[in-house]
């Protein structure tokens, strides 16, 4: 940051007088994404989650003496793909460095990472607030670099000083670390960034972003800029670790911003008075707590890894990866809004469900010829089902073609909305197609003469309602529609209404 801050001491009264309007929250994020490769970054061991401990390791990923790393081509390609989707400059020359520190789940005593020549340089990601909580913002990305994951340490939590157990299955799994500039101004923006990032990564298929498996992890850097006494000060930066869901991230950042303001009001300490601190988010207690600093953790003694050679990336390779990317979420939203008339919020919800839902929608919208109807049905019926069942769209019992057939009948007036929903439910319950469901429900076409005699009966039997309509109370016809449904559930209510009005000359 080029801004400079003063570190004057303000007295208690001045500090107390600072209002929330004088405070800006400054947030930067570091996101680790596990790239979806079959094998590890530097050896052929599997990256599959959940195998028994220490069954997916070899000489290379356990750092046996004499073993050497060789880079996984797919990890490079997925990194480039991610960089392109995030508008990053793609390096034409990228190299590998060692980050040296001791930990039992780091077999070589160093992590192979990238220091000064990351595979992806500066980029950006635009975020918008789904419900308008903040103005649209462009979050600049500092870089994204490729590195190997560490293994897993399981410490004895009993406080009795038992041994720690080490599982190296995860060691060497490829991670892309995406680092933003301190560009976010609220926890909600941070959450929106993470949500959009995850969406992009899953759309382009570089990671499944499964947070339970640790395939997407995020740390946040947060501090406050405070306008006080005509000057601007900054509070010490805190890095928050262990934010293991987006909701947790939002809460942790919010908690930390509040804590920092309170602390500053108490002690007046600014960024000049304290080094960066690391705190962990405790989800159970909803607080951040100080993390024990790793001894000399700051001195990683980076230097170029002499076991690996540089990688050059050709323009042609970048171009061919570009072609694999397809539409990104923002482009899908724009398409849905502009070409299918969806409201921005609805487009956001639809796209937020993933590419398969969008594709489902497009098949239905194009097939039935009514985007608005398709959007309502997919947005309400389908998504409700998926939310309730927790299933993905490929598990939804009604295919896009069947949904299209159903909505085509609605669009043609052969089925009204209410009946159509009954049909849909029957299709789901009995796992049958549209026509079979209609047959099962006894739905058949009603011809004009039947409609006319039905309307004549309704007029004859309800003279007082007819009178109300004639007196100008148009809504009164609703009572007749209800009765019509009882007499003949297959009669189209719209048609019944129109016929009655015509017959009574209203």
């Amino acid at each position: 940051m080029s801004e400079t801050f003063t570190s004057p001491q303000f007295d208690q009264a001045t500090r107390d007088a600072v209002s929330n309007d004088d405070v800006t929250v400054i947030i930067g994020l570091e996101v680790h994404v596990q790239l979806d490769t079959e094998s590890k970054l530097f050896c052929g061991c599997s990256t599959e989650f959940g195998a028994p401990p220490n069954t997916q390791t070899c000489a290379v990923c356990t750092g046996m003496p004499g073993s050497l790393p060789v880079i996984n081509e797919r990890a490079l390609q997925l990194s480039i793909k991610t960089g392109l989707a995030l508008n990053c400059e793609i390096a034409r020359y990228t190299k590998w460095d060692r980050k040296n520190y001791f930990y039992p789940d780091l077999p070589k005593g160093y992590q192979i990472s990238q220091f000064d020549k990351p595979i992806c340089g500066q980029g950006y990601l635009d975020i918008t607030a789904p419900k308008g909580e903040f103005e649209p913002r462009r979050v600049e990305l500092e870089r994204a670099h490729l590195e190997e994951d560490a293994g897993k340490s399981m410490h004895d939590e009993s406080q009795r000083g038992g041994n720690s157990k080490i599982d190296l299955n995860r060691t060497g799994t490829p991670l892309l670390e995406i680092v933003t500039k301190p560009d976010m101004r609220s926890p909600a923006e941070a959450r929106a960034f993470l949500t959009e990032l995850k969406l992009i990564l899953t759309y382009i298929g570089v990671s499944d972003c499964n947070m339970q498996h640790g395939n997407l992890r995020c740390d946040g850097n947060v501090n406050l800029h405070i306008k006080v006494g005509g000057e601007k000060i900054a509070t010490p930066i805190v890095e928050i670790k262990n934010m293991n869901s987006f909701r947790a991230a939002e809460r942790a950042l919010g908690y930390e911003a509040g804590r920092q303001l309170k602390l500053w009001k108490q002690n007046g300490k600014t960024i000049a008075d304290a080094p960066k601190q690391t705190r962990g988010w405790n989800d159970a207690d909803q607080v951040t707590t100080p993390q024990r600093e790793k001894e000399e953790s700051a001195d990683y003694r980076y230097f170029p890894d002499p076991d690996l050679i540089a990688v050059t990336i050709e323009e042609s390779e970048i171009e061919s990866i570009k072609k694999e990317i397809g539409r990104l979420p923002a482009q899908w939203r724009e398409l849905l809004i502009k070409e299918h008339g969806l409201k921005p919020y609805d487009a956001g919800v639809m796209v937020g469900q993933g590419a398969e839902v969008v594709e489902y929608f497009l098949v239905v919208a194009q097939g039935c010829g009514n985007s608005k109807m398709a959007s309502n049905w997919v947005g309400q019926e389908v998504l409700r089902f998926l939310n309730e069942s927790g299933e993905a769209i490929d598990a939804y019992p009604v295919s896009a073609d069947q949904m299209t057939e159903l909505l085509t009948k609605v669009n043609a007036g052969e089925l009204d909305q209410t009946r159509a929903k009954e049909v849909l439910q029957e299709m789901i319950d009995s796992k049958i197609e549209v026509q079979a469901a209609m047959d099962k429900l006894g739905i058949k076409a009603v011809d004009n003469s039947e409609i006319e005699s039905l309307c004549r009966q309704l007029i004859d039997e309800n003279p007082d309602v007819i009178q109300q309509i004639k007196d100008g109370n148009g809504k009164a016809v609703g009572a007749l529609i209800g009765k019509s449904r009882k007499l003949n559930p297959n009669a189209n209510p719209g048609l019944v209404k129109d016929t009655i009005l015509k017959m009574i000359g209203a």
Partner: protein, 485 residues
Amino acid sequence: MDLSTLSAAELVKRLSSGELTAESCTESFLERIKDRDSSLNSFVSTAESAISAAQAIDERRSTGQAVGALAGLPVAVKDGICTAGIATTAGSRMLEKFVPAFDATMVKQLLSADAVVIGKTNMDEFAMGSSTENSFFGVTKNPWSDQHVPGGSSGGSAACVAADLAPVSIGSDTGGSIRQPAAFCGITGLKPTYGRVSRFGLIAFASSLDQIGPMARSAEDCGLVMNVISGHDSNDSTSAKNDVPDFTQTLNDSLKGLRIGICKEHFGEGLDSEIESAVNESVKVLESLGAETVEISLPHTPYAVATYYVIAPCEASSNLARFDGVRYTHRAATAKDLTEMYCQSRAEGFGEEVKKRIMLGTYALSSGYYDAYYLKASKVRRMIKHDYDSAFEKVDLILGPTTPTTAFKIGEHTQNALAMYLADIYTVSANLAGVPAISIPCGLTSAGMPVGLQLQARSFDEASLLRVAHQFQLQTDWHTRRPNA
């Protein structure tokens, strides 16, 4: 029949003709090791599996099946190179009980050529040293004088060949660790071009400098081994893809018109006068074979040792971080917590020289010093490489002494590390630049100690080194002189 003095080429010939079986050949060398190595200490271990491996080769040969180029030839391998199922210690207490699950690529190549690995040779711990005094398994003695060191770090590999305990051996060279002991022990040792021989399975000291190579009694024998161990390995990212010639095919090509540069920086202060005259005599031999000699300069030579002692310890400090007491190393029995486990295991498992170099490298890479040490040294390294590039525009080979002195006495330099480091003064540059270099015997001093002649060539031109060395050896008999003969 005494097999011990036969060349590898001759042994291979007799094995191939059926005059000799692999089993009897292997037995004979193992027997010699048993008889003579207790005082020499060139081996850390001998391979129990050697006899059965030799029998299997005989069996295949007798039933008419194909056998490899080195079928039945006994080979000794430096103990810093991984051998599956055979303890591999790198001369360190840290790895006293380590048994690798895999063979180094180079060992695989030897085995698939049907060579017989007869044992693992002693070395300075993690190849850090120039005397083989820094081994957890004791000092190796120079076969020419039990008062003297064999050189290092591949001292065991040099001594066992010089003492006829193995016809050929494998060493590794980070700053001179093949050539300097070859010179001290009166044998031929080749450090190939960086990338020529796979490093996969070589326990790393300094990854950008380490290179495996052959040690033997003649250039021809080195060539035989080079034919087997050279070539690209997809498991080593730094392995070169260059074509591998048949190194034995061009041994007899004429030296007429070959331009040999005499590096003036290799004849300065500190060079033993007897070595200087032996080298000058060698120049005359090569001239008589048609080579032209010119004086050249490698102007950054005076800084090579300093450059090396920044880069090698920096890489080593990181390479040796994996020896942490968790997966395969010595662990201190007394450690109560994680930090103690690290600090005590490493304090106990590493010897003094290794600890010193780790601390040196740790310091040089630490915050605030990177530019002054590692970065600066890497830039000087570029200048050293430039020196070679310029020189090789004018000449085909560079000639000079391998070492400034002959083998020093055991204990002579143990209190003066810098004096020890300067034993590598003529050899480290080749590692820094990546070029190949060979040391061949070119004389004996009045005290009866061997003198080494070093030849260096362009990257991937080991063939020229072997050719010149071979023809020199056709004209001279220094390489056939044996200790106590």
